[in-house]
Amino acid sequence: MIDILRRITREPLGMIGLVLVVLIVISALLAGVIAPYDPIELRIVDRLQGPSAAHLLGTDQLGRDLFSRVLYGGQVALKVALISIGAALGVGVLFGMIAGFGPRWLDNIIMLFFDTIRSFPTVMFALATVALVGPSLETVIAVIVVTTIPNYGRVVRTQTLSIRSNEFIKAERAMGASMVRILGVHVLPNVIGPLMILASMDIPTVIALEAGLSFLGMGVKPPTPSWGSILNDGYTLIRNTPWPIIAGSIPLVLITLGFTFLGESLRDLIDPKLRKNI
């Protein structure tokens, strides 16, 4: 791990990505310490102020400090990203390995299930789900988990299919190794690398999806701060002040760049075809 980190930091883009990701993660984790104000406390007399020493990014229409809301919004974004990617990864790996290692008919059923999910446009699926069960953080996470599972499942299945016919797997089976042992000890370590790259590239997508749903008012409930809801406030007030739009956009741009750079560096390190001599 330390070796991987050292090699990433030798790449300029990898270094930038790592710094951005660490910066955003730390600022979100320490929001309670760093944020100068309660992100949901209303101060209507201070509404729509521009940046100042008291309010680094200004205030919104309810007089709430935008810098504090951006910091706490990071907690929501990371929570959604980590929980949903983690859950999707877990379920995707399980189904992918079963599909790849199991009988053909089971593979077909699981693939049909994946294709069915992927045939729904993600945003439409999210809007329909929210309309049915109501907006909440849990709904957003559930939508992301369901729509992301096939991404991981397909990768794992492909990897599993290519590994299952290897000589060492055949030898393990001949010696009577259980399926669980084969999958856990031999298959999983071989698929986890590509999955990590995929997951790191998916994080900004998931954060953008959460922000998008919150922008549409379908994400987290008020008054919970979210980058998307800050952007939505900013959109309606664009003719009064540009600061909420700027405040909501900055972290989204930074986190997208950060995880993309980091993911690409990881890919360059792990993928033998792209591995650079660094």
């Binding site: 209303l42 309309a131 008012g217």
Partner: protein, 528 residues
């Protein structure tokens, strides 16, 4: 009655052409190349924005004000709303109109009012047909309630007739004769069309004729050369459906349109520095916004809890945060300028947390937790958060549920499932016509689970509601409607917020005409 429709402009070749043309015209106007309103190909064209697209050209099937803005241009009525700051009417197709007694209105048509496309002269038979078809079950008119107790129209001669009601119906003068159901259509043409029309019309008699409808892009009206009222001010009126007010403002600033309503958040800036050669005006609105509380729900059935919530909601903070100080506090559901308006509400607009805590204690609670359902619009979400914050001060936790339009408008509808039972607090907004009966009608017992989502029910209220709309004594009506709003407020099921406002902007090259609530009367627009 509520604003549901959403429209988007589609980028197709026509739209592209429109953008190119309007962009060029906007540039020309901005650079002073066009000193007057747009003269495209020598035509004098008025370009205005409507918040929704046209849906029907049949007055019986009109979906509300956006359709009526078109209908009032292409059809005639016995009377029309009078432009200005006070409610009133002026004669249109009628030469005279007289209330004979509580249930009879006598009219005499002007002579030589011609329908377009060769359908001949307007007669009392056309008036009878137009009004009575609204009551016809086969027509399935959504606007039937506007005619109240209309019984029939008796034709007394070629141009004369009598409108007969089963019982007195004073609202006819405010929301029937000069509004949607007062439009007069041609009996012969409508019968030829099978009794109802859709988005094309066989004929009209107003200052303009319907020329073209490009769905979700624009409606074009052209001058009617045979209009009985003289010469219409413009060769054409182009009506663009633009849902979003920010977009409409951009369209105005770029010169694409000559008039639009603007958002309340823009008013201060626009007044401080209006676009060149334009005027910003404020009109009061008739809309009413309130927080309703479901008296049948297990939690909010406690009247003391409801009263605690009434006192928790700080209306001035909401007006500042959500309406940018551009709207005033409502005292009820009936706006200033209408019969029945109350000067003061029983619960003062400013929150009283001490009193709220007293009511909470009387409810046997130290704290409470309720849900607030809200339509997902910026002003509503902001309002909900202000309510959430002030209620928290009294120990009442408000969980805000946001809904998109379709889900929201089915929340309290008992025919749409069981969800209406879960409604506790709801932030609602209804549109309104200039008669108090139009406001109170939705809160009677029969409307529970239809539009009465609070499930408020009071036999005395129902009795007053029926009596008030059938009473010709305006002073008595005034007192009755005030009493009804007192009863609503006393129930604890309502916290009145605002009637909003209607800020408009128009180019100084036109002379607009508005109802007292700021809605446009396009037929009266003229060049400056």
């Amino acid at each position: 009655m509520q604003t549901k429709q959403r429209n988007k402009l589609i980028l197709n070749p026509d739209r592209r052409q429109f953008l190119q043309t309007s962009g060029a015209l906007g540039f020309a106007a901005a650079t002073g190349a066009l000193p007057q309103i747009v003269y495209a190909q020598g035509k004098k064209i008025l370009k205005v924005r409507a918040y929704a697209d046209m849906r029907s050209l049949d007055p019986a099937l009109s979906q509300g004000i956006t359709d009526e803005e078109i209908h009032s241009c292409i059809y005639s009525k016995l009377i029309q709303y009078k432009p200005g700051r006070e409610w009133g009417w002026q004669l249109d197709a009628a030469e005279s109109l007289e209330q004979l007694d509580d249930t009879h209105i006598k009219f005499k048509l002007k002579q030589d009012i011609m329908f377009t496309n060769g359908y001949g002269e307007m007669t009392a038979e056309d008036v009878k047909y137009s009004f009575e078809r609204i009551l016809d079950e086969k027509v399935e008119s959504t606007n039937k309630p506007d005619w109240g107790s209309l019984k029939e129209v008796v034709v007394d001669g070629k141009y004369e007739g009598t409108i007969v009601f089963d019982e007195p119906y004073p609202p006819a003068w405010n929301i029937a004769l000069p509004y949607i159901v007062g439009n007069i259509v041609c009996k012969k043409a409508w019968e030829e069309a099978g009794g109802r029309i859709d988005t094309t019309t066989p004929c009209g008699s107003g200052p303009y004729v319907h020329k073209e409808w490009q769905p979700k892009q624009k409606t074009i009206l052209a001058r009617n050369p045979d209009w009985h009222g003289g010469t219409a001010a413009f060769d054409e009126i182009h009506i663009f459906p633009i849902d979003d007010e920010n977009t409409a403002q951009i369209a105005f600033e770029s010169g694409d349109i000559d008039y639009t309503r603007v958002s309340l958040s823009a008013v201060v800036n626009l007044k401080a520095s209006p676009p060149e050669n334009s005027t910003v005006e404020d009109y009061p609105s008739l809309y009413y916004v309130w927080v309703g509380m479901n008296v049948e729900n297990e939690v909010t059935s406690n009247q003391n809890l409801r009263k605690a919530i009434q006192h928790c909601i700080d209306v001035p903070s909401i007006l500042q945060a959500s309406y940018f100080g551009a709207a005033g506090a409502a005292t009820g559901i009936i706006a200033p300028g209408l019969i029945g308006h109350r000067e003061k509400s029983m619960v003062p607009p400013t929150a009283d947390i001490t009193k709220a805590k007293e009511y909470l204690a009387a409810a046997g609670m130290d704290s409470a937790s309720v849900t607030l359902d809200v339509l997902n619009k910026a002003a509503n979400v902001t309002t909900a958060q202000v309510i959430q914050a002030t209620c928290a001060q009294a120990g009442i936790n408000v969980d805000v549920n946001l809904h998109e339009s379709g889900a929201f408008w089915s929340l309290g509808d008992k025919s749409a499932g069981e969800r209406y039972k879960d409604v506790q607090l709801i932030l609602n907004r209804f549109s309104m016509a200039p008669d108090p009966s139009y406001a109170t009608a939705w809160f009677v017992t029969d409307q529970r689970g239809v539009w009465n989502w609070e499930w408020y029910s009071d036999a005395e209220f129902d009795k007053l509601e029926a009596a008030a709309k059938a009473n010709s004594d305006q002073a008595a009506r005034h007192q009755m409607y005030q009493k009804m709003q007192d009863m609503m407020e006393e129930s604890g099921a309502y916290r009145f917020i605002t009637h909003e406002a209607t800020p408009v902007i128009y180019r100084n090259t036109i002379k607009p005409a508005f109802r007292p609530d700021g809605l446009p009367l396009l037929r009266n627009f003229s060049a400056a």
